[in-house]
Each structure stands twice: as structure tokens, then as C-alpha cells.
Subunit: 201 residues, 2 copies
């Protein structure tokens, strides 16, 4: 499920749910206030009762989509006794998290291209700092000689890039059923990272 909440129509939360979905699909410039209003079931003017302008609505939608993600991602990197167990737990759960919320992933992708400095700083501090520190700590334990910042980026990217490229990979040679599945992605990434970092098996 893309969004957990299921509020009654007409409320501010429902507007945010609709907005998250539309902004994720076609981006800020690809969605009009009229589009959103129609999907919500109210007039465009009514939207301005809940949000002063389009940008505020967009920022509200971002906050709505990213709420509680910070802790959820952080927790993927924490549990487990050995570094190997923590690595496998992180890969499994981070992969599942990205698979179950495409809207979050798409908003993130869009923000990486279009986000201005202030918006990226906001997202970095309120959403990614906490989980990134957890993944960095795991990186430090896995390979003390490797830059933890770069290794954390690599671990996340290894997982995310398989999702990002899914729309185009279906037209590339060697593709097989299941290449898009969370199970296959996490298995592949675990195998790669285990051998690179733990030198076992």
C-alpha cells in the first residue's frame, strides 16, 4: 500500500494523499491545482482554503509522504548481533520499504533532480540524516578502512538503482522475470556486499 492512512474525503489529509500520488507520478509542473481538486472531489478554489498556494501544498505533500520514513529506514540498519546479520537485515528491509512505497521513491528521485538548496537541506535534515547515520555506522563496522559516507551511499544506491531502472530494463538484453522483485534484488545485493565487505563465503 502506498499510503497507510485512509481518511474521509474532503479533509486536509485526503488532499495530501491525492497530492502525493499526483506529484509523484508527474512532478510539480505536471500537476495543476485543478487536477488535484478534481481527484479530491472539490473545486480548485476550495484547495486554497487548506493551503495558501501550490508550493505550500507541495511541501505539505512532501512532509506527508516522508513522515515516519526517517525512523523506518533507520530501524532497517540497527538490529542484529553481527555486522553480517545487520547488513542482511538492512538490505532486506530497505528493499522491502522501497518496494512497498513507489510514491516515496518517485518523490525522492524528483527531488534529487529538481530540489533547490533549501528544499534539499530540509529533506536531508528531517528525513535522511537519522537513517544515513545508522547506515554509516553499519558501514564503519563492516569495513573500518572504507569511507563510511561513500559506502553508505553505495549500499543505498545498489538497491535503489534496480528500482529506478526497472522501466527501461525490460527493454534491455538478459532481462528475466523477477528481476524487479524485492526478493531477487535483495538477494543479489546481499551476495555482492557480503563478498565485498565480509570476505566470507
Amino acid at each position: 500500500m502506498s499510503n497507510v492512512s485512509n481518511p474521509a474525503p474532503g479533509t486536509r489529509d485526503f488532499i495530501l494523499d491525492v497530492s502525493v500520488s499526483l506529484f509523484a507520478q508527474t512532478g510539480y509542473d505536471g500537476v495543476s491545482m485543478r487536477n488535484i481538486a478534481k481527484r479530491v472531489g472539490i473545486s480548485a478554489a476550495a484547495l486554497y482554503h487548506h493551503f495558501p498556494n501550490k508550493e505550500s501544498l507541495y511541501l505539505g505533500a512532501m512532509a506527508h509522504a516522508f513522515a515516519d520514513k526517517a525512523r523506518a529506514i533507520s530501524e532497517t540498519a540497527g538490529a542484529g548481533a553481527t555486522p553480517q546479520e545487520r547488513l542482511h537485515g538492512f538490505v532486506d528491509r530497505f528493499t522491502a520499504l522501497m518496494a512497498e512505497d513507489p510514491d516515496f521513491r518517485h518523490l525522492l528521485q524528483r527531488e534529487l533532480i529538481d530540489g533547490d538548496e533549501s528544499r534539499l537541506r530540509l529533506v536531508a535534515e528531517h528525513v535522511f540524516r537519522e537513517p544515513f547515520e545508522a547506515i554509516s555506522a553499519l558501514s564503519r563496522d563492516l569495513d573500518p578502512n572504507c569511507d563510511p559516507h561513500m559506502l553508505a551511499i553505495s549500499m543505498a544506491g545498489l538497491i535503489l538503482f534496480h528500482f529506478e531502472t526497472a522501466p527501461v530494463r525490460r527493454f534491455l538484453p538478459g532481462v528475466r522475470e523477477g528481476h524487479d522483485s524485492p526478493a531477487m534484488i535483495s538477494e543479489h545485493v546481499k551476495r555482492l556486499l557480503s563478498r565485498a565487505l565480509l570476505l566470507t563465503k
Copy 2:
């Protein structure tokens, strides 16, 4: 340099150069025909003498930006005697290629989110099939037990994700000067992949 050519103003090639740059920066919906015309130095109506509509201009700009990229990327994966040499050559040159052409990278990122099926098929067949096969072949030589399609994606993603996240990484903990540099990125990726795939060092 983002674009090699440096044609005289007013020509079709100059329109394409300008369009590539603008579409890469703000996306299809973020650029108007008037924007492009102004930067080219002609009226919007004159644009329609060279291209029948906005979408044609966009597709022309894509073809222009992606021209010769296929072979350039393919060649990054070919040379070298041992698989290890080929791996290092691929990582070094692919990283350099992505660093020297941000427009290409941004258009690619945007196409992965917004491209419809026909456009993605076009890009896949005319730009990525050839280099992807070269990288897949390298993957097969590096690790015959690993799915070459997935490994090829992982190798490219490991490099690209460091560029993609550069705008937000500067606000994340542990960042250091040079984390964005091609040299540091390729060193990091080579180290990671060498240990994962060759089990040496």
C-alpha cells in the same frame, strides 16, 4: 564540456544544443517554447520552422544528446587483457564520461521517471542496448555465477548514484571535500567491486 559542437547561432544544431541544456535543467514541462526561443535568439514562431511541435523538438534534443554515447559507453567496457583490467578501465572511463556530461545524466534521470513506454524502448534500443551488452559480457567474465543483467545494473548504479545524490549529500553527515570528484568515486567503486568480484587484494 557538456556539448562538443559549437555551431553558429540560428541553426538547427544550435537550437538542439540550447534545448538539451534547458530540458536537462528543468524538464519537459519546465521549459516553454518561448524560453528556448529566447535563449536561441529567435522568436518562438521561428522554432516551428525547424520542428513541427514541442515534442519533436524534445525528441530531437534527446537524440542529439545521446548521439555517439552508445559507442562511447560500450568502449569503456571493452579494452584490457584480464577481467580485472577491464573492470578498472570500465569504472574509470564510465565515471569520467558521466562527470563530463551532466546534461546527458540529467536527461537520463528524467527519462527514467517520466519516459513513456515508446520513448523508453527507443532509448533502450538506440542508446543502451550496445553498451549494456558490453557491460553484461564483462559481468559474465567477472562472475559466471552471477546474473549478468543484474550485475551490469549494479555496476552502473554504483557509479551513477554517487552523482545523482551529490546535491543532497552535501547536507549529510560525514561528507568530505572530493566525495563528488570522479577520481574519488571511481577509486571507491573499483575497490568495492574488485573485492566483491575478484576476491583479490
